[in-house]
């Protein structure tokens, strides 16, 4: 698998896609994708691989693995790497700007003009009365789904129980929970092959 490092001529040759095109593509993805990374990633895949053919599927899978092992919003990381592949550092910056700008402007408009006016309206209050338990349900479901997907062996289950116990008993800071997880992983998870 390590042989994949060798650079191959895949998808669009580096430098052939202009910065404005990169910006416009990611603006579009950023503007029309509701929700977080797991919703945006398939759309980036559809646009970049199937429609524009900027990258090969195999390249994109590599990018996904990298994206998921680094900190930061998934959609942002993925966009930066794709932009960088196409046009170096400037491409990465432009892709980041494209993916961030639509949500930035929409939230700004909401916070500055819409919410102050409608906030006290009883129907808006009613909608948020139902939105709050919906958010709690959504996040619980995500926890359950991720648990079912990733905690399938005894070691992971043990780590999960240990971390949960530690988190609740010592009211650990979230960053410390991550650091502890990484440390325990390094300590106990050996490659099973």
């Amino acid at each position: 698998m390590a042989g994949g490092i060798a650079e191959k001529e895949n998808g669009a040759p580096a430098g052939s896609v202009s910065l404005p095109v990169i910006l416009f593509t990611f603006l579009k993805i950023g503007a029309f994708t509701f929700g977080g990374g797991y919703v945006i990633l398939p759309i980036i895949q559809r646009e970049i691989i199937h429609r524009l053919a900027w990258l090969e599927m195999e390249d994109f899978m590599d990018i996904l693995i990298i994206t998921q092992s680094l900190p930061g919003p998934l959609a942002l990381n993925c966009s930066i790497i794709v932009g960088q592949r196409l046009r170096g550092t400037a491409g990465g910056l432009v892709a980041a700007l494209g993916i961030v700008l639509p949500s930035f402007l929409i939230i700004l408009l909401l916070a500055a003009f819409l919410l102050p006016v409608v906030w006290d309206n009883k129907y808006v209050q009613a909608a948020f009365y139902g939105l709050r338990p919906a958010v709690a349900a959504l996040v619980s479901a995500v926890a359950l789904n991720l648990g079912r997907r990733f905690v399938q062996d005894r070691l992971s289950l043990g780590l999960l129980a240990l971390l949960l116990g530690a988190a609740l008993a010592f009211r650990l800071h979230p960053v410390f929970i991550l650091v502890l997880g990484a440390f325990l992983g390094l300590l106990f998870c050996r490659k099973n092959e």
Partner: protein, 180 residues
């Protein structure tokens, strides 16, 4: 313009960006720790409302939250500062250290895989903790409890897109709101 506040905003959201692994939901506890407990910038109720807004508008949650909180505290300057703060770690890590990191990860170094295998349960714990604290804020009576239970089952059984799940919550809220 209060320069120290802007610096605080930038730094808080920089930390959120730097330590968010595994998608937006895992950084909810960190945002709570920074924005509610540490700085008192938001109440628990405002925070859950921001997540609802973030999930029903385009874009990653942490970026939406940064834009909104920044605006609430220091207008457009604050909003730009917080947003730049939350995206900076990604930009720095990927653009400055990019090639080196990408090669390390692609080499399938067993240590990288071990760390990721340890991070996964940690991320799940963070999301569980987030669900628990959001539940405490959002489930205020029998009606909200029933809405949450119904949507949780719907989400687990049918894997509904988060946007539609929240839209259903809003509609149920409009129908069942007891304080008209």
């Amino acid at each position: 313009m209060n320069f120290l506040l802007l610096l605080d905003l930038f730094w808080s959201f920089f930390k959120v960006g730097l330590f968010s692994f595994g998608g937006g939901y895992a950084m909810i506890p960190l945002m709570e720790a920074e924005l509610i407990t540490r700085h008192g910038w938001l109440t628990a109720k405002e925070f859950i409302d921001i997540i609802a807004i973030a999930e029903t508008t385009p874009g990653p949650i942490s970026i939406n939250a940064a834009t909104y909180v920044g605006f609430r505290l220091a207008g457009i300057t604050g909003s730009a500062t917080a947003t730049i703060g939350v995206v900076s770690p990604s930009l720095f890590i990927l653009l400055a250290l990019g090639t080196f990191l990408l090669k390390t990860i692609k080499m399938k170094d067993p240590r990288v895989e071990s760390i990721i295998r340890g991070l996964r349960p940690a991320v799940i714990i963070l999301i569980l903790l987030a669900a628990f604290s959001l539940g405490k804020t959002g489930l205020v009576d029998g009606t909200t409890f029933a809405i949450a239970a119904a949507l949780f089952l719907g989400s687990v059984l049918f894997k509904v897109n988060p946007f539609y799940l929240l839209a259903a919550g809003a509609v149920l809220g409009l129908i069942l709101f007891p304080y008209y």
